[in-house]
Symmetry: C2
Subunit: 305 residues, 2 copies
């Protein structure tokens, strides 16, 4: 039986751990002792799209967990550095898979060990209800590709394991086209939602009047597409079409960055929009609108105090 | 003794009425009967920068007020149309003065009568404490210029009257350079404050890092200056310097648009940023950043419901 370690048990980590524990031996690396104890005692319960409770082994020290075949680094982007530093020297036989938004999580993780690396992005979403309970809200896919010392077949094998656990996933020969599609989509939708207070609703696709938000969303997507083109990346999906389709689904999804600013938490703006702006600067493509939104969201964070 | 009618008794109207009543015979045109009754019974009290209580004559029907020499149209920009429509046919001997943000209030007022017109902008600010009480917060100037059938001397005479009442004012040969300076300043500071939640504080002038807000503020000011230049207007003050000076004053002023979005009220975005964007479109000058902020604030208003 495959052994998987999920490092970081927020919403996404909890969804992976609970589902995978139905088909694999799952351990969970947590930051807090009480979180590990709660998981060891009560397991992990999922409600919403699926209903299940799974047993997992949890600890705050990687040395106390069984050797895994696969480590899913499931923390927020800003925690990849400290979390993979804690993994340094552990699990030498495992493959590491990052699932963060933005660009560059694989590179950061790779500096702390010689593990083979898989690159992934996930579109699934949920709501954390507590240390041992999570609601599965959007049953969208996780996309996986090779990154370092891994092959497309390795990516497909992990995708198959995830699919067998009841989640949705797909393996890619090259993740970059999908990763960039998601980056452009995320940079646009998250920042606009965080600044306006709107969930991802039909306003994002409206273009009837000069003052309509859809114009700005399209201009932001076009800036992102120009950066991708200059970086030699052919996008997997058109982020504008992703936006239109998502707003037609009827479900008014509240992007995580909107939830973060509502709760006065630090956002992932540096990792999402920030990585797009830095990449654009490196390549020499102007992105004035993404740069404006980057500064506005940073200023919004500064307004918390 | 000069007779002044203040039409619209919000914060700015109340500050004008209460001060001018110390040196002139002041009437107040209100929208609500109970507001007029309260003013007739209790007068108007100012606290803060000045401390005074003045008697005024108030009514909801212009026909019930004495004939004035000067009418100050002191409502919000969005109310200029209905308010000056109520004045149609009244006070034929009076001069009308508009004091709204943005562009075009004079033109709207002028369609409802043949009154000579003065154009003004005011930088003073306060907090409305109730129907008969207002706090005078920022004792900054009101700038006045001729607009239709009036002369620079008429503008200076009204400025002198206002100064004699304890407020600050200045008459101009041509208001447009000052009006445009204020428009560019306001479009920039109000929209950024409304979106970020920041009062007008030192963040607005910070330019040390790529993500700092001052870069965006300067880019917005530069867009506005390009429109003014194309419109043939030589600015009275540099809006960037106005911004830097204001943020160095130490008082963290909360722009009215930030107060509006906090209270889930409609903002003046259509009159301020909207008038700049429409003017830019007419002249053919691109203003992508002001257009982006225009759409974001409109979307923020849409998020209230």
């Amino acid at each position: 039986m495959t052994r998987v370690c999920v490092a970081g048990a927020g919403t996404i980590g909890s969804l992976f751990a609970a589902h995978l524990a139905q088909v694999a031996e799952v351990s969970v690396l947590t930051r807090r002792e009480e979180h590990a104890s709660a998981l060891n005692e009560r397991g992990l319960t999922v409600t919403g799209r699926t209903e299940l409770t799974s047993s997992v082994t949890a600890a705050t020290d990687p040395a106390q967990l069984p050797e895994p075949d696969l480590v899913i680094v499931a923390c927020k982007g800003s925690d990849v550095e400290p979390l993979t530093q804690r993994l340094a020297g552990h699990f030498p036989a495992a493959t590491l898979m990052t699932v963060q938004n933005g660009l560059g999580a694989e590179e950061i993780a790779g500096t702390h060990g010689t593990w083979p690396l898989l690159s992934a992005v996930t579109f699934m979403s949920g709501t954390r209800l507590g240390d041992t309970a999570v609601e599965y809200v959007l049953d969208t896919e996780t996309w996986i590709g090779p990154y370092r010392d891994t092959t497309p077949d390795d990516a497909r094998a992990v995708a198959e394991l995830i699919v067998s656990s009841g989640l949705r996933a797909e393996g890619f020969d090259d993740l970059r086209p999908a990763q960039w599609s998601k980056l452009i989509f995320n940079a646009t939708v998250n920042a606009v939602a965080a600044l306006t207070g709107l969930p991802h609703d039909p306003h994002f696709a409206e273009t009837a009047q000069l003052s309509d938000l859809g114009h700005l969303v399209r201009d932001l997507v076009d800036e992102g597409k120009a950066v991708a083109a200059a970086a030699g990346v052919e996008l997997w999906e058109d982020p504008w079409e992703m936006n239109v389709l998502a707003t037609q689904r009827g479900h008014r999804h509240s992007p995580s960055m909107l939830e973060d600013v509502k709760a006065h938490r630090p956002t992932e703006i540096d990792l999402i929009t920030g990585s797009l702006v830095r990449e654009a600067q490196k390549i020499g493509v102007p992105v004035p609108l993404h740069t404006a939104l980057y500064r506005l969201v940073k200023a919004k964070e500064a307004s918390y105090s």
